[in-house]
């Protein structure tokens, strides 16, 4: 692997990982709060992309970038206020089923409103094309992906400051673990939950806004990214923001380097002096390259971490 290819793959992996983190951050926050996985989380990602598509057709990409995430956040808050909060008193299973059903409803609604085919949501012309200063160094990397990384890092920083350095963050952290105590101190815990849920959805919406045109905006976009985001938060440890961050980057890098690695078990065996031939037992398996099994690697990681460290990288809960 040349150093240029290595750098490009590194950038590809990190930018994909950061996008995953935008999605996983909201999901893991909401999990710490409700104790339940929000199955509809990636639906908000999809809504974000469609809102951005619609708004950018009307008023341009930049206003859409600013408007779409808060809109998705308001929508998420409404779902919490008039949906989840009512279901909450019946326990976790109804909540889970509620979000599950919601994801199907959103999937159908999006198809009714925007159709089943992909919609044309292009990258803004200002960010089209490769990065000039990287190109001078012999690396072709799209400007838009750099922009994605910048947005994700900015949000990450803001989130960290909010949670660790402000009074609101203090109340949120306390409410996540000890809601009764926080309530007794005179804080409106349901409103805190409402805010966290809305903010989590807004983050997912933001991921949709910048991911929708980097990839493709279509009704199945929620489903395809859903599985991988669950891997991220389980791997990182349910409820742990730092864990989700590490897991996102790790998965992004595994994705980028896995897809391009030509290494195989047969190659490994040859390098230690035992070269298998096509006649060797199990040769087709031995000859499979990492690139061929790359799509399974995230799920393999999921299974392994559940076996060896069930609470995930940085998780605190056992269950």
């Amino acid at each position: 692997m040349t150093s240029e290819l290595f750098l490009v793959q590194l950038l590809n992996g990190v930018s994909y990982g950061l996008l995953l983190f935008l999605l996983a951050a909201g999901l893991t926050l909401i999990f710490s709060m409700m104790g339940v996985l929000n199955f509809a989380h990636t639906s908000f990602y999809m809504i974000g992309a469609y809102f951005a598509y619609q708004l950018s057709a009307w008023i341009g990409f930049w206003p859409a970038l600013l408007l779409a995430p808060p809109l998705v956040g308001v929508l998420g808050a409404a779902v919490e206020r008039w949906g989840l909060r009512r279901v909450h008193k019946w326990g976790h299973v109804p909540e889970l089923l509620f979000t599950f059903g919601l994801s199907y409803i959103v999937f159908e609604l999006v198809q009714v409103v925007w159709g089943r085919a992909p919609v044309p949501y292009p990258v803004p012309p200002e960010l089209d094309g490769p990065v000039a200063w990287l190109q001078a160094a012999g690396i072709t990397f799209p400007q838009y992906r750099l922009f994605m990384m910048a947005v994700a890092i900015l949000m990450l920083g803001a989130l960290w400051l909010l949670l660790k350095r402000t009074r609101i963050g203090l109340v949120i952290q306390a409410a996540l673990t000890h809601p009764e105590m926080v309530e007794a101190l005179g804080h409106n815990v349901p409103r805190v939950f409402l805010g966290v849920f809305g903010a989590g959805c807004a983050l997912a919406g933001l991921a949709g806004v910048i991911g929708g045109n980097a990839f493709v905006t279509e009704p199945s976009m929620a489903g395809t990214v859903g599985a991988i985001v669950f891997v991220v938060i389980v791997f990182g440890g349910l409820g742990s923001l730092a864990g989700a961050f590490i897991a996102s980057l790790l998965l992004g890098l595994v994705d980028a380097f896995g897809k391009t690695s030509g290494a195989s078990l047969a190659g490994l065996l040859s390098s230690v002096g035992f070269a298998p031939t096509p006649q060797t037992f199990g040769y087709p398996v031995l000859a499979m390259t990492v690139a061929q099994v790359a799509p399974v690697l995230p799920y393999l990681m999921l299974v392994l971490i559940l076996i060896f460290r069930p609470r995930g990288l940085m998780g605190t809960r056992e269950s």
Binding site: V8, P219, A291, P295
Partner: protein
């Protein structure tokens, strides 16, 4: 007034078709007209999941084809055609379960096309079913699954292929690439299932024969409909120094691939099978212009285009592209076979269709008796700016397909190793 004019045009077209058919049918035994009835055709393809957009769009193709076969009385007066949709979800298991339901509902004709991974087990299950329950025989009209095994090692009497198979398409593509000196380093990227693997295999074999000087610098398989981010593959293709990419990918797997290539500034040309499929032109937009080529049996800008009115009508009615000519050919050929057989009994119809020649929408077509593979010409086209010969742009993108080369039927044809077991004629 408009409607009356259209009805008149249909009437004329029908009369003309009937005329040619009569001329052809002279030598054959005269059959009585089939009785008035409704012939149900099961449409067994994904209507949900990642490939739902394609599935829904093609369902409408078939509904339109059935409407026009009914209105034109192609199978005789009073024979109506009806499409019954079944959602296979793109899964072989699901499709086989639904096949049971289809047989139980008395439906005798099945159309399916999206994915050879479904078509192969389906074809085998239908053959088995017909052997065990001859009274519930089913005919399989395959409009788009193009694994050559279907008409070679795994061929059977009840399966009819209306799309050109991978081997024929690759034969056509390489025939075009033969004359392109700029092709030196070729990269193969395909979906990891039967169709993708066959595409890669035939690309290797045929390039070695027709362009021994061109090098294959790399090869990758991606899982069907699961990859979001293709940029790592693009980086790899660039590092391999490829100037040409051959891909059999379709749906989102092609869209995301082409977009990632453009975002990363990869300048290689793309030789594809499915650049015209719904959603792909939109997603490609300017990024695909002049560097995405397609091999297909039709595109909206072919010269002498009798399918143009159907294309325009479909576009107006559904605001979607019409491109699956096989939907029209398969329903029309079925109707014509029913008319010639004088019955919609599957065994009689299948025997009539085997080896049948008729005038299709784009000229003479033949359902080759040896393997039930439709023989038809193919087109190599380039995705380019609309205007001039590119009369119709795809999905309002301002870009459309322009013919580069017409590959005549005899070139696009491929030999078969099929040894078909034919049930006795009734």
């Amino acid at each position: 007034m408009r409607r009356a004019a259209r009805a008149f045009a249909v009437a004329i077209a029908t009369a003309a078709a009937a005329g040619t058919v009569m001329a052809q049918g002279k030598g054959a035994a005269k059959a009585a007209a089939p009785p008035a009835q409704t012939v149900k055709i099961a449409y067994l393809d994904p209507l949900s999941g990642p490939f739902a957009a394609v599935g829904q769009n093609i369902l409408r193709h078939f509904q339109v084809a059935a409407e026009s076969a009914t209105a034109g009385q192609l199978a005789g007066a009073g024979v109506r055609f009806e499409i019954v949709p079944f959602d296979s979800k793109g899964s072989p298991q699901e499709a086989l379960t639904l096949l049971r339901a289809i047989a139980d509902q008395g439906i005798r004709y099945v159309v399916q096309g999206q994915g050879s991974h479904v078509a192969i087990p389906l074809s085998e299950a239908i053959a088995r079913n017909n052997e065990r329950n001859p009274s519930q025989s089913i005919v399989f009209l395959n409009y788009a699954a193009i694994d050559p095994d279907l008409t070679n090692s795994k061929c059977n009497f009840w399966h009819f292929a209306f799309d050109a198979n991978t081997e024929m398409k690759m034969e056509a593509l390489t025939d075009y690439m033969k004359g392109k000196a700029e092709i030196r380093n070729v990269y193969l990227l395909n979906q990891n299932y039967s169709h993708g693997q066959q595409t890669a295999r035939f690309a290797r074999d045929l390039l070695a024969r027709k362009r021994p000087d061109a090098k294959i610098v790399g090869e990758d398989f991606v899982p069907l409909g699961q990859v979001r981010d293709f940029s790592p593959y693009i980086a790899k293709i660039r590092a391999a120094g490829a100037d040409t990419v051959i891909t059999g990918n379709w749906g989102t797997d092609l869209v995301l691939f082409v977009r990632a290539a453009r975002d990363a500034g990869l300048t290689a040309n793309f030789y594809t099978y499915y650049a015209g499929v719904i959603g792909t032109p939109t997603a490609m937009g300017a990024s695909g212009a002049d560097r995405v080529r397609q091999v297909s049996y039709w595109h909206p800008n072919v010269e002498n285009n009798p399918a143009e009115p159907i294309y325009l009508d479909f576009k107006k009615r559904f605001n979607e592209e019409w491109y699956v000519l096989a939907s029209y050919n398969s329903v029309t050929m079925l109707a014509e076979a029913i008319r010639r057989a004088g019955s919609s009994e599957p065994l009689k119809v299948a025997h009539t269709m085997s080896g049948m020649k008729m005038t299709g929408l784009m000229g003479e077509i033949e359902m080759r008796a040896a393997d039930h593979q439709l023989q038809q010409p193919l087109y190599i086209s380039t995705f380019t700016k609309a205007g001039g010969p590119v009369r119709h742009d795809a999905e309002k993108t301002g870009f459309g397909f322009r013919t580069e080369k017409v590959i005549p039927t005899y070139v696009a044809s491929a030999p078969t190793s099929c040894q078909m077991q034919r049930p006795a004629k009734p």
